[in-house]
Amino acid sequence: MPRPDKGSPASRSRERRSPVAALSYWLERHAQNFVASLGKLVRQPFASALTIGVIGLGLALPAVLHLVVVNASAIAAGIEDTVQLSVYLTQPLTAEQARKVQQGIDARDDVLEAELVTPEQGLREFEQMSGFGEALRALGDNPLPYAITVRPAPRFDTPEAVATLADELKTLPEVDIVQVDTEWVQRLHAILEALGQVVWLAAILLGVGVLIIIGNTIRLDINGRREEIEVIKLVGGSNAFVRRPFLYTGVWYGLGGGALAWIIVTAAVAFLAGPVERVATLYGSGIRLQGLDTEAAGVLLAGGTVLGWLGAWAAAQYHLRRIEPRA
């Protein structure tokens, strides 16, 4: 039977640690691992660069898609300003009558411009746009009515004001149909919204990819340091103690990958800014290519860091349990 351990060397060595000392120990351990794991990556620059490169590309892709959506939304917002109404007049109507209606509308305070479209012009446009010109000609008479394209004044281009304008125009006796051409803007928005979902989907898939890459890298790292892990466990190192340096390695990979992704995206934006501006100028638009804002950059770095930590944690959790010391 074991005897009470009186004054053995061990009992002298088991002094109690105060909470402050325990905290300072904990902080020191973490700071030491933080630096040491970075040093380890620096000492094997090629392998580290490969891993960080793959992670960076994986994170850059959803970020680029995000920018595509952001910029397309900005362009759509610019187009939205140019709301227009198509007013179709009743038939039959003389050119003189149509002209008078157009002038009446044009004189309104809430209208910037009203342009008369004659049936002949309408037919030509229709032919060009639809390719149904032959069919229309087969009808003999031009079935199209006079139409007036109305652009609201800048202060009256809100959806409500446009609706009011449309209602008032509809009360005119010569007006048959008023069409507010917002349908395609709505479609554009729907497309952009779908694209936004694609960004999320891509972010999730590539995030899982990054997790797997980091997890696998850490797994190889763990296998390479089997001997050391066994010795640490033999002399009483807990799983948390063994795991810590690997978690920090994962964090560095993730953070490095996030930073690289930011660099890739920023470089791509700088590269494309010139050409895009030229295109915008040609279309008479002042749109400039938007890069990653601070928030997006923060999400990229934080996301990378979290993924790195998670991947390393999963790998360490799974593989460290399987390494038990042999004597």
Binding site: M1, P2, R3, P4, D5, K6, G7, S8, P9, A10, S11, R12, S13, R17, A21, A22, Y25, E28, R29, E227, E228, E230, V231, I232, K233, L234, V235, G236, G237, S238, N239, F241, E324, P325, R326, A327
Partner: protein
């Protein structure tokens, strides 16, 4: 300090390593565990370090029944047992100082205290001044002594050693055994497994002889 009660051990592959082993090693006592390779010496040590658990019977170390030690508590348990290996198992990529300091770093000892204890421990094994050497720069005997310094640096009440002289020539082997004696003199309970009968004949120490998983001649007690 170490107590085996009717311990039976069968490994998952069906090999029966210990048939029924019972012995007590008092606090501050030292013993040699002898027997041919494969007789069960290593199994006894593994059970003490909680690298294995008995199939039947009880192993009590330092007042703790190993059966009651949960997996989460194993690291803490192992810090109370110093282990020395035949192949010393030092980390080749770290200097002597870091190798010896490892158990203290794990236990969360302050840096100043660690420094003091590592030096004391190296002094004890006669290697003071080799702190910055790397294990491979040392001789086999020196490497083994670094391993011993690491095993005792946290002053565990129990020290076990598996063939610690297996790779050493006779003079170095005697030196290492003397080291265990001195540690025992300051109160550490020491159990050394060895098959080197000629070597241990020179020491008047209790012997536990194991043959085919059974202790024989236990009463042949200490001097």
């Amino acid at each position: 300090m170490i107590s085996f009660q009717r311990v039976f051990k069968r490994y998952p592959n069906g090999r029966e390593a210990l048939a029924e082993v019972s012995f007590d090693l008092a606090a501050g006592e030292m013993a040699f565990l002898t027997g041919h390779s494969g007789a069960g010496k290593s199994t006894v040590l593994k059970l003490i370090a909680l690298l294995e658990r008995p199939t039947r019977g009880q192993v009590v170390v330092n007042g703790r029944n190993t059966a009651a030690v949960k997996p989460r508590a194993i690291p803490g348990f192992r810090r109370e047992v110093g282990v020395v290996f035949q192949d010393h198992r030092l980390l080749a990529d770290r200097p002597v100082y870091e190798n010896v300091a490892l158990p203290l770093i794990i236990a969360g000892v302050s840096r100043r205290e660690t420094e003091k204890r590592v030096r004391a421990s190296l002094d004890q094994v006669g290697l003071l001044g080799k702190e910055t050497s790397f294990p491979l720069e040392l001789s086999a005997g020196e490497q083994q002594r670094v391993g011993i310094a690491r095993a005792v640096v946290s002053k565990p009440p129990v020290l076990i050693a598996d063939e610690p002289t297996g790779n050493l020539d006779p003079d170095l082997a005697v030196e290492v055994m003397n080291l265990f004696r001195r540690l025992n003199d300051v109160g550490v309970t020491v159990l050394v497994a060895t098959h080197d009968v000629h070597l241990i004949d020179r020491f008047r120490v209790r012997r536990l002889h194991i043959e085919q998983g059974t202790l024989v001649g236990v009463p042949d007690a200490a001097a």
